[in-house]
């Protein structure tokens, strides 16, 4: 029964990683940008929700819905002011730009909110501690189930959006070949801005779950980014469906690893990540080619 519980908790944890990783996967898939500020944008989203909770006393889940449009606008502005310029300057510049953005966001948050830790757990209501006790060794937490449900809806919805809608087709076409897409009249600038807005919105969702699961402070972003990044790589870079499965694989590896020894939990995730890297890229000739 312990192993069943471990796998179940791992799936819940993995769904959380997948939500965090979703925006990272979108930005890499569409623009080939590895966004090092993704974790910090998630934390920024958590703060936006936190401020609304403080001001209105609303539940964190409702406050999130209010903060979402703000984050979407932020994504647009971010693309048009920072990322678009850096994209023109080669492969390395967006990486450096997002690294700089990460530092700027952390320090602005520290100025605005002080280093005190915050949480959305208290204001999200009893859902954060509620659970169904199936047997003494197996419990299904309401929060875990909610995160899993949201993750499945999010990734399923995105998949439908990309395969069924006009904007989705434009996004895929631009991801495939931006210049060719321009030739048939797609405005890649607008597509990129939409992709970034979408990525920042999902980051905010990840921030919401981070804030409910645990606590956050202005420098919490980078610690979560590593797990999100691993989820993207395990699932295959640029593949959305893969990111959901990659997140869950990472989560299950960590919880099952913890059954062997607590110290092995984080390590098991890293080992899975390395194994995927070796299987996928090992033996292949390393070639330098333009992306």
């Amino acid at each position: 029964m312990t192993i069943v519980n471990a796998v179940l908790q791992g799936i819940f944890l993995g769904a959380f990683y997948a939500v965090l990783a979703c925006g990272l996967s979108i930005m890499f898939g569409v623009m080939r940008i590895i966004n090092l500020a993704h974790g910090d944008l998630a934390v920024l989203g958590a703060y936006a929700t936190f401020v609304i909770v403080e001001q209105t006393g609303a539940s964190a889940l409702i406050a999130f819905v209010v903060s979402l449009p703000l984050m979407i606008v932020l994504g647009y502005v971010l693309q048009l002011t920072v990322l678009e310029r850096s994209l023109k300057a080669g492969i390395l510049t967006p990486l450096l730009a997002t690294f700089g953005l990460s530092i700027v966001v952390q320090n602005l948050l520290q100025l605005a909110f002080s280093p005190d830790v915050r949480s959305l757990g208290g204001s999200a209501g009893t859902i954060t501690t509620a659970s169904w006790q199936v047997t003494s060794g197996l419990s299904v937490s309401a929060l875990g189930l909610l995160v899993l449900l949201v993750a499945v809806l999010l990734f399923g919805g995105l998949q439908l959006f990309l395969s069924r809608t006009r904007v989705g087709w434009m996004m895929r076409a631009t991801a495939e070949d931006a210049d060719a897409a321009e030739l048939v009249g797609i405005d890649s600038r607008a597509v990129y801005a939409r992709a970034t807005a979408l990525a920042v919105a999902t980051a905010a969702l990840g921030g919401l779950f981070l804030g409910i699961r645990s606590v956050f402070d202005p420098v919490s972003g980078p610690t979560q980014l590593i797990f999100a990044f691993e989820a993207v790589v395990i699932g295959g870079m640029g593949s959305l469906r893969g990111t959901l499965l990659g997140g869950i694989a990472l989560g299950v590896a960590q919880t099952v690893g913890a059954q062997i020894h607590p110290q092995f939990a984080v390590m098991a995730g890293h080992l899975l990540f390395l194994a995927v890297l070796i299987v996928r890229f090992g033996g292949a000739r390393l070639r330098l080619r333009p992306v």
Binding site: L13, P115, R118, T129, S214, V215, A258, P262, A265, V266
Partner: protein, 431 residues
């Protein structure tokens, strides 16, 4: 030029004279004393740096008229730097303060990541350094001090609580609630966690507690169902942990989801839960957690530099900043009390060897207690020079005590009986 003279004279002079020759290099006017102050203002430990602005303001005000030492009036300048909670930055800012600012005395506080590299840089340069808020074993053993061997440290000094104070606090706090004496521990695989496992674990076992230790986990772990299942199965009614704050928040919420908190009668946390914001952030499940403090406004000691009592310090902070007092306030100010006292006692504050000499026997009243370096700490029966122990007082976070959302209520005073007890420990019921 001076260096050459020093070398020539070196053969003849006593070391103290040589040192004073070298250190009188006039980068600042000889009538100005420079004090370096390093703390974590940014990074994961930045909560500790939060009262700095207020405390340094108080110290600057008190130093405004200068310090009168040996008939000379010295003006005092405080140069503060952010250690960024990162050892490499701590070392870098310390070296900058030593070499460019030519500080006469260094102060450092809060966590081994900030304090230890500063102490190391000062030890290497022969600059006197006083530090606090790092469990003293982590400061002494973590920097290469060995049990049963003479102390390798000449110019660096420390005052803080250690494992013994935690042990005293826990063994006086826990019997106040009836339990099965089974202690679930979450001690991580980091400097603090491993030190506690090695030192506190055996002491608690001797005192009759059963330790249920699933083994060290890595900082940043996001799921604790393996440990929680074990604690439920063993019915551990006492819980103890020394984690980084986000890990505890994650753990405790999962423990509530999976039903472990219903078993807990005492939730004893250390390293997290030091500041009210960390406990408030947990929401309802934070109420009733037990913790420890190294200073509170009810402590019967005053700051000898500013003349402020502990109560005045806490009230002043709350009215000036609009924020609730936190325990780092007293600890940060105590560093400046020590600085003023040792500079005065040295008789020659610009002479590093005199300042170091004066530290060895210094007695000074600070908000955290009366410190006396002539009575050093001891480790396995051997005195540890340069280190003074200070108390940890056990108590409980309770909601609805004052106008603030949550307050720390002192429930025992075994390591300093002069600190007043406010209440007794109540069983944890917030699950």
């Amino acid at each position: 030029m001076l260096k050459t003279t020093g070398l020539v004279l070196g053969g003849l002079s006593v070391p103290g004279v040589l040192e004073s020759c070298l250190t009188s290099t006039p980068s600042t006017p000889s009538g100005t004393i420079k004090i370096g102050y390093v703390s974590p203002i940014t990074g994961p430990a930045s909560g500790f740096g939060e009262p700095d602005a207020y405390v340094i303001g108080l110290a600057r005000e008190a130093f405004k008229k200068g310090l009168s030492i040996g008939g000379t009036n010295y003006s005092v300048e405080i140069v503060s730097r952010d250690g960024q909670s990162t050892p490499s930055v701590g070392a870098q800012v310390a070296n900058d303060l030593i070499q460019s600012q030519k500080v006469d005395l260094m102060l450092a506080t809060s966590t081994p990541e900030t304090v230890n590299p500063v102490s190391d840089a000062c030890e290497a340069a022969g600059v006197p350094c006083v530090s606090t808020v790092v469990p003293w074993e982590a400061w002494y053993l973590g920097r290469g001090g060995k049990v049963g061997q003479p102390s390798p440290f000449k110019s660096t000094f420390h005052y803080c609580f250690g494992v013994e104070q935690f042990f005293l606090a826990y063994t006086h706090l826990w019997p106040q609630v009836t339990t099965n004496k089974k202690v679930a521990v979450m001690w991580p695989n980091d400097a603090d966690g491993n030190a506690i496992r090695g030192a506190l674990g055996p002491l608690l076992r001797q005192a009759g507690y059963t330790i249920v230790d699933p083994g060290p986990y890595e900082d940043g772990t996001n799921d604790y169902s393996a440990q929680i299942a074990r604690f439920i199965q063993q019915d551990c009614q006492i819980f103890n942990t020394f984690p980084i704050p986000p890990d505890f928040a994650t753990f405790w919420r999962q423990a509530a989801q999976q039903g472990y908190t219903k078993h807990v009668k005492i939730g004893q946390i250390a390293k997290t839960g030091l500041f009210p914001s960390q406990v408030t952030a947990l929401g309802a499940i934070g109420n009733g957690l037990a913790s420890g403090v190294y200073w509170a406004p009810t402590w019967p000691y005053k700051s000898s530099l500013t003349g402020k009592s502990s109560k005045e310090l806490g009230d002043g902070y709350e009215s000036t900043t609009g924020k609730q007092w936190n325990q780092q306030l007293g600890a940060s100010l105590s560093l400046f009390d020590v600085a003023a006292a040792v500079l005065t006692a040295s008789g020659a504050p610009k002479d590093k060897s005199k300042v170091i000499g004066a530290m060895k026997t210094l007695k000074v009243e600070t908000p955290v207690g009366n410190l006396d370096w002539s009575k050093p700490a001891s480790l396995a029966g051997t005195a540890v020079p340069n280190v003074v122990t200070t108390p940890i007082i056990g108590g409980q976070w309770n909601q609805g005590v004052s106008k603030w959302p949550i307050d720390f209520v002192i429930c025992e005073n075994s390591s300093d009986p002069k600190v007043p007890i406010a209440s007794t420990l109540k069983p944890y019921t917030a699950s």
